[in-house]
């Protein structure tokens, strides 16, 4: 059964001094799956990913990556996994080509210069290949790091916020590329703060304060929380805000300019309260689908109050 799992970790724990940063995290990623890893800042995403590729030793727990034991076979994992760090970690004082060349030699790749030329071509960095990497803009550094981490054609990609600071069209290209790779059987674990990216994943996991709070396909995750959402529209939204937040049945509100997402667990109670408020302030109410973002905010609030 575990043969079709690219990642299978069970009850990972990590302490930094007295701080319990990752708590009993278990995660299964199937081969050919794109798995989104979400959670607020400092929730333990980077730490979890580092434990999977042997950069940190878990204090307890076990697991495998591509069938290799994460505790004992990290050398094998490193050869077959492409890891992109959250913070840019290529060498600023090497040129773009030299950095790629370094990686290619590191994995003893054949036909190095051709592969590098192709990569540069795809990246659109051919004419800047001999420029020092440190002089690239943030987004371009990110794109280079991504290409470098895929250079050796790994079977599993661990990408830690790969698209942070990348412009929308490059992000779209990147996600198309990810789906192409997944279709070929390559597995991807990708952490992100973007909701549109979360929605493009086959599955997502949400972590807060080191605990996995939900995981599964996006619609499963949404359904599992039993949250109902209504949209309010109108010009007096900001005035009505306080009144709505304190209304019975209202769990959370998210304001988007001229409309507001209001969610709660008790659908009927929520509808009543909102209709009352709507008539008072002259707003429109309509029922809506609960989105991943609503769910994540809900999960975070719950974790906060615990």
């Amino acid at each position: 059964m575990s043969d079709d799992l690219a990642i299978n970790v069970i009850n990972l724990n990590k302490f930094f001094g007295p701080k319990h940063v990752v708590k009993d995290v278990s995660l299964q990623v199937k081969k050919g799956e794109i798995y989104g890893f979400l959670g607020p800042n400092g929730s333990g995403k980077t730490t979890t990913i580092r434990m999977m590729c042997g950069l940190l030793t878990p204090d307890s727990g076990s697991g495998t990556c591509l069938g290799y034991d994460i505790l004992k076979e990290s050398a094998e994992i490193k050869r077959h996994v492409g890891y992109m760090t959250q913070k840019f970690s290529y060498w600023d004082d090497l040129t773009i080509r030299e950095n790629l060349d370094f990686v290619a030699r590191m994995y003893s790749m054949l036909g190095r210069s051709q592969i590098i030329n192709e990569t540069l071509e795809t990246l659109g960095l051919s004419d800047r290949a001999n420029q020092l990497t440190g002089s690239l803009s943030g987004g371009w550094k990110q794109r280079l790091a991504l290409a470098a981490s895929m250079l050796h054609k790994p079977d599993l990609l661990l990408l830690d916020e790969p698209t942070a600071g990348v412009d929308p069209s490059a992000r779209r290209d990147f996600w198309e590329e990810l789906h192409r790779l997944a279709a070929k059987g390559i597995s991807v674990l990708v952490s992100t703060h973007y909701m549109d990216e979360a929605e493009r994943c086959h599955k997502v996991a949400y972590i807060a304060y080191g605990k996995l709070l939900a995981q599964g396909a996006a619609d499963e995750v949404i359904a599992s929380q039993g949250l109902s959402t209504f949209i309010l529209k109108g010009t007096n939204l900001s005035k009505a805000m306080e009144r709505i937040e304190s209304a019975p049945g209202v769990q959370q509100t998210v304001l988007f300019g001229t409309m507001m997402h209001v969610s709660g667990l008790d659908k009927d109670l929520l509808r009543q309260s909102l209709q009352a408020a709507a008539s008072e302030y002259g707003l429109e109410v309509e029922e809506a689908d609960t989105g991943l973002e609503d769910i994540f905010i809900h999960l975070m609030k719950q974790a906060d109050s615990n």
């Binding site: 580092r50 950069l55 094998e76 840019f88 970690s89 030299e98 030699r105 994995y107």
Partner: protein, 380 residues
């Protein structure tokens, strides 16, 4: 399942190339490579001075009498000499000097006492290893006083009749290796080792902590490269730099200080290579132990001090207390000082030098092992 253990040339070479490229772009380091050796040579070369005691001395005596015993004890009381060996003949004396076992050989000729009594005015020959002229100068000055002090104070019994008269014998001094007693002849070859130690340890001391602080370590650790590949790969460019610096020092020594050079230049480069490798491994080891660049610098200084003080660079090795000699004989610089002085001033051969060569190789192997052990394979 296929196990993955061997040393990979491709990965090692990728580290070597990367280090060369980074070094090439680091202008300040490049300037240091040239400027530091020249500056230090000029400063130290003119400044350093010393007055050591208890230097090992051998005696060749075919004449045992009250007279000779008096002379020997007078020499010992001067504080400069410590008799460590009785040698049968002059060849043995020469050999002991050449190996650096002793700094002086006192040769009392046959029938010395008889000839004194007969009034033949015989002479005692003191041969000195004058490689380090400041070390021997004071001792030799003391030895010249010997005849007159012995007659004025120490003669009793059957020799009492000589007391108070003018000296009945003389001491002749024979300086070997550096007959004109030029101080720089000793200091400058010694400086080669000191400068190389400082530069090599300092430059590699930062090699791994720098990766840590720039955040590039995470990337390196996520790649399949092994600690030994990283460490030896990072050392290679600095070996080249060590050889360049040794050449600069050699040129300054020969052209500015006009040092004589009696030895084999290839032999010199061979021992420089071994010595540079030894120091680079120290730097890499300190770097893998240190948590950050500041700690690495502090450890470097900590390593540097004993090298200056007890390697035989500042004070003659054999003139130091025993405990200092024990510590000193761990340090590669101790052996290198002997090697360089031997090659420069004595023209020593490989077999003369071998006892000082192998300890450096053993040192390098041990330190490299420790470095690999301490290298952190994770970010914990």
């Amino acid at each position: 399942m296929k196990r993955f253990t061997g040393f990979s040339f491709s990965r090692w070479w990728s580290i070597v190339i990367k280090e060369f490229l980074q070094l090439k772009r680091d202008r300040i380091t490049f300037a240091m490579i040239v400027a530091i050796p020249v500056l230090q040579l000029v400063l130290f070369g003119y400044v350093i001075n010393t007055d050591p005691k208890n230097m090992p001395t051998a005696i060749i005596s075919n004449d045992s009498s009250v007279m000779t015993r008096t002379i020997i004890s007078a020499m010992e009381q001067s504080g400069y000499f410590k008799f460590v060996a009785n040698l049968p003949n002059e060849e043995a004396g020469k050999a002991a000097l050449s190996r650096g076992k002793v700094l002086f050989v006192v040769n009392i000729p046959t029938n010395f006492t008889k000839r004194v009594i007969r009034g033949e005015y015989p002479s005692i020959l003191v041969e000195a290893d004058a490689t380090d002229p400041t070390a021997t100068a004071m001792a030799l000055a003391a030895v010249m006083q010997l005849p007159s002090s012995v007659v004025t104070r120490d003669l009793t019994g059957s020799l009492a009749f000589l007391a108070g008269k003018s000296a009945p014998f003389e001491v002749r001094v024979h300086r070997l290796y550096n007959p004109e007693a030029i101080n720089q002849y000793n200091i400058v070859p010694g400086l080669m080792g000191v400068i190389l130690t400082m530069m090599m340890v300092l430059m590699t001391g930062l090699a791994i902590t720098r990766e840590r602080e720039r955040g590039t370590m995470e990337n390196l650790l996520a790649m399949p490269v092994r600690p030994l590949e990283i460490m030896t790969g990072k050392i290679v460019p600095y070996i080249a730099i060590g050889l360049i610096q040794a050449t600069i020092i050699l040129l300054v020594a020969l052209l500015l200080f006009r040092l004589p050079f009696f030895g084999n230049i290839l032999l010199l480069y061979f021992v420089v290579l071994l010595f540079v490798a030894a120091n680079l491994t120290v730097g890499i080891m300190l770097s893998s132990i240190a948590g950050n660049q500041l700690q690495a610098m502090q450890l470097t200084m900590f390593y540097f001090l004993p090298n200056i003080l007890i390697s035989g660079f500042m004070f003659p090795f054999l003139g130091m207390p025993k405990w200092a000699q024990y510590i000193g004989s761990i340090l590669p610089l101790t052996y290198f000082n002997r090697l360089v002085r031997g090659i420069f001033l004595k023209g020593s051969s490989f077999s003369d030098l071998w006892p000082n060569i192998w300890p450096m190789m053993v040192f390098t192997a041990i330190v490299m092992t420790i470095a690999v052990k301490f290298y952190k394979k994770t970010l914990d």
